[in-house]
Symmetry: C2
Subunit: 403 residues, 2 copies
């Protein structure tokens, strides 16, 4: 069991900067040994933040290979652009490091296998840093599901509904990878935020697995209209054709007959939501109005047509997940209402013990594969496509995910 981890952070855009400042720097058991970004200004600014926090100045790199070559580094955190997550994670493992990488989708199925191979060859711990698996409501529902309150789970839904029009359309100024992705690809490019908590509820890769999917994309109108209004008709991107449909819906069939519906919805005006919904033979959870419907307890109609909106709070005391109860009693810290903190603690504790945290490479590969497979299905007119078993049959044996 390691006492302290010596960390290199690779990728210091918006996400890396936020995670470093709010969630990594406050940890007592890490040293920040190296920072790496292709843009030197990002390295320098983040180095300042590290020093201002009272820590020694880290070494700075523009090429991640150089950072990985440092003997002093034992743990790599990848917060770079989507396209480089798997490449850098694999390189880190081959360099003998433990690695955790930020969320995103895969560009090809072969990329997912590459991740599996790197882990199996090197034995190095490798985890995807999916914070939504530590969401308070997500864990409350997981807790209730595992205690049988919803009965047998039959259908789950999730989504990433987030109005990113401003971020995406300023992609060239702010050097953000979403711009090029939206310009040239059409798929559920960000499935893991919504799929992660559902996968833990359905024991995906842990006694169950995803078999096939179909995906359908709406037309792309949101970004064009936004840029036209924001920048005017003379701005070049006002006339670009974005390939990415505004709303992409994906349906997934599981080995035990459950279905999953995922929605990507990032270029239209909307309130933020992960559209989380769980339906079993005894009850239902619905994020849109934060309500729980229990068989034999709740009525289908109410005078005001509000099915007990917000009633999830009635279950809070009895079913808040133990992890959250402890977190609340110690004081919630870190970004995204604390879910970054819980996710980072799970990662650091696992690496110190020499193992992968949940979400490991098998889970990560199958979740990330949804992007590449939804792209295929859309390109084939919503044809069904098979989802590989990245565990090679081990999903029949793998123990349940514990947050």
């Amino acid at each position: 069991m390691k006492e302290t981890l010596n960390i290199a952070v690779v990728g210091l855009g918006q996400r890396g900067t936020l995670l470093l400042k709010d969630t990594i720097l406050p940890q007592p058991d890490v040293n920040i040994v190296a920072l790496c970004d292709v843009y030197s200004d990002r390295c320098e600014e983040n180095a300042k933040v590290v020093v201002e926090s009272g820590r020694p100045a880290p070494q700075l790199f523009s090429d991640y290979h150089d950072a990985l070559a440092l003997d002093a580094v034992d743990t790599v955190i990848v917060t770079a652009a989507w396209e480089s997550h798997i490449e850098i994670a694999c390189a880190a493992m081959y360099a003998g490091k433990a690695v955790g990488f930020e969320v995103g989708g895969a560009y090809s199925i072969e990329d997912c296998w590459r991740l599996i191979r790197a882990h199996e060859k090197t034995g190095r711990p490798c985890s995807m840093l999916e914070n939504t698996c530590y969401g308070r409501d997500e864990l409350l529902v997981l807790n209730m599901v595992r205690q049988g309150l919803f009965g047998e789970i039959v259908h789950c839904a999730g989504g990433y509904r987030h109005d990113l029009r401003d971020e995406i359309s300023r992609g060239r100024e702010n050097r953000h990878y979403r711009f090029r992705n939206y310009l040239s690809r059409c798929c559920d490019n960000y499935p893991t935020h919504d799929l992660g908590p559902i996968a833990s509820i359905l024991d995906i890769n842990h006694g169950n697995r995803m078999l096939s999917l179909v995906s359908m994309a709406s037309k792309a109108r949101g970004l064009h209209e936004f840029i036209l209004q924001d920048k005017g008709a003379d701005y070049d991107a006002a006339n670009f054709h974005f390939a990415q449909g505004d709303v992409v819906t994906t349906l997934i069939k599981c080995a035990h007959g459950e279905t999953i519906s995922l929605t990507l919805d990032t270029s239209l005006p909307c309130p933020y939501s992960r559209c989380f919904q769980v339906q079993g033979t005894k009850g239902m959870f619905e994020e849109e109005n934060r309500s729980i419907f229990m068989d034999g307890k709740d009525r289908e109609f109410h005078e005001d047509w509000k099915p007990r909106w917000g009633c999830v709070e009635e279950y809070r005391e009895a079913y808040d997940h133990p992890l959250w109860k402890e977190f609340l009693s110690n004081g919630v810290r870190g970004g995204h209402n604390g879910i970054d903190w819980l996710m980072m603690r799970a990662f650091l504790n696992a690496v110190k013990a020499g193992r992968s945290a949940p979400v490991d490479v098998y889970d990560a590969a199958s979740w990330m594969a949804i992007s590449a497979l939804s792209e295929q299905s859309i390109a084939l007119g919503s044809a069904p496509v098979a989802i590989p078993d990245f565990t090679g049959g081990q999903w029949l044996l793998r123990q349940r995910w514990q947050p």
Copy 2:
């Protein structure tokens, strides 16, 4: 323009009985000439209700052919089992009657064409009696869409979420057609309640059309568990295998690039909802929390994470549909919070003027076809299937639907 319509009601189960009593009998411009049901007790009970309302006793029939042979009948209302809607509607048209038939899905695409042919050969008015097209919120949203408040519409969702476990499982005692359907079929068997209002928003068959769909069904667990608990393990149906998956999700692609997501969810515990959702480039409507999100006005995050739940009421005064404003000032009447009444008035007024009401045979055929096509897609492992153009190209010319 006819002053009075002479009506035969065919099918007097739960729906026919309710519609007759609450919505047809109170109309001033109809005579109830004939009642027909294969079960004589149903005829007799409903005849009593007619007489008690102060009207002359209707003639009673067990075979609909005999009812259609009556010269005194000019208008037929079909409230029989799903399987007979199209058969009886066609027979009514060939007998020279105007006809309105209750909602449900089609069993084959040929059935849909049969409906089209009967109408085109006879020229008789024929309408589907889809009450949800007259829903207050549905018409408010349609009104706002047509005034451009949501911008260009990109994606719509709908559903029929209704816990029917009790009704379905008692299907043999209460002679309800759902039992046999759930036992032997797996599809979105009831698509028009949710699709109807969406079709009017997207101008389906009126400048736009549905091109293709994919459909996926979850496992079937709800009915088995319900019957087991309700009746015990010794009850025969507790050991039946129901073919109908508990949750069926269908994705539809439209000619102008919009997507539609439909959910059938009738055998799990849940609050009633038609899961209505409309997304455009300027705003969004969400039924689950009855909220409207407007670009530039609403914020994506709120302190309490409630995106202005219920705020649809803020739009009520300005955008309630004129039809509903008038209805409210005259006093809302009839079943299902008044939507049956508005639907029936539209039907009767159209027949008196010698024409089909919205929803006409072309709309009805394409909406009902979703059942047969979702059954095909599910059977083919969620393969995409083409949706026929029942208008023969006239969808490019047909005028917008007006409620």
